[in-house]
Amino acid sequence: MPATKLVKGVLKGNRRDLARLITLIENEHSSAATALSMLYKHTGNAHIVGVTGPPGSGKSTLVTRITAKYRKRSKTIGIVCVDPSSPFTGGALLGDRIRMQEHSLDKDVYVRSMSTRGHLGGLARATSDAVRVMDAFGKDIVIVETVGAGQSEVQVVEVAHTVIVVDVPGAGDDIQAIKAGIMEIADIFVVNKADYPGADKKVTEINAMLDLDSRERSWRPPVLVTNALTGDGIPELVDMIGKHMSYLQETGLLKQKGLQRSRDELEQIMEYKLTKELFTRLRGTPEYEQAIKKIAGRNDDPYSVAERLIAEFLTSVRG
């Protein structure tokens, strides 16, 4: 079924159409882009919250707790949980849903498990579009749980308004588990598993690290302590997520981020389309193969050939 047929159902709140559309996006079905373009004007209303941190730190359990709190406030929730695919078989075991059972019969909570399908950066390629579809569907809050992250899985910052970085007590001396890259993207720090010894020490360590951060900024990421098993600290966390959104709105940062994101996205799409167009014209033509042979034989160089081919391409599209 073409994705465009599902758009109406998604806008009317049909869960099954939502689920199928996400599958078509994941599978890069040829009609997915058109469906997304039809949905675009209905997006931009959800508060998108990213949850990242080392494997097993309690991300899924926290997401469940946060969701329960939001449900008490009658918010509707979409959740995308990303798990890594096996580099050898391409398969994946998606287990985050195990922790989200308490919401499994709540029609206002939509949970979708997603494999990275080889994509790096902590998310799947389709994650940001899936988030967008949930936004268009009408979810008030969309939560993205990344793969268990180390230091380079920071892509969630491109998708979320508010990024929560989860750590646990005693994960090594100083900051071992969460490293520089991932520390820098936090809007809120959570030290989960407060029932383990060393939570206070962890809070001190993170704060000490924040003291060293020389970036000029008006939002210093707060460090909260939670126990996701008992729910301790969850009301404070949910309040802080709301405070962060108010901060983004009041300072104009939300608008600024929106502009930046639109610019980045537009440029990514144009870059993709342009290069695709260029290469469909070039690849396989005798001239192109000849030029490559010349470069390899040192009869020409890649710099001038690139200049020439792009100039020719531009002339041909103008003509």
Partner: protein
């Protein structure tokens, strides 16, 4: 269409049965065969299984029961799927299931039943040849 389809499977443990070794082993084998496997853990009601299957848009539901409750729980899942108008999901089961019960389960809509000692390759092969993508 430049599609890159993946077989998505929900592996579920319906009822109060706590034997989860088989379900986990099967889940891992399917992952190793390149499938995307969603494991929902223990104590699933048929309603929870159907809801998860729809939300996750799976192609296959695989249920594991070793407690003897299969005659009640397997057909219930089929009924709920029908009520939701879902007819494109392959539903299979495994665990301790007496041979005598198998014909009725199949009549109810369980496509195949796999008992103890089934080679994992047989389960993988069955799904690959019978799944509707």
């Amino acid at each position: 269409m430049s599609s890159s389809k993946k077989i998505r499977v929900l592996v579920a443990k319906p009822g109060l049965d706590g034997h989860d070794r088989g379900a986990k082993i099967v889940a891992r084998a399917l992952r190793d065969a390149g499938m995307e496997v969603i494991y929902t853990g223990l104590r699933q009601t048929p309603e929870m299984i159907v809801e998860a299957a729809i939300s996750e848009d799976v192609n296959v539901i695989g249920m594991s029961i070793l407690s003897g409750a299969h005659n009640a729980l397997f057909p219930k899942v089929i009924d709920l799927l029908k009520a939701e108008g879902v007819d494109n999901i392959l539903v299979i089961g495994g665990g301790i299931i007496p041979q005598d019960d198998v014909p009725a389960l199949k009549a109810a809509g369980i496509a195949e039943v796999f008992g103890p000692g089934t080679p994992l390759a047989e389960i993988v092969g069955y799904i690959e040849s019978n799944v509707k993508l």
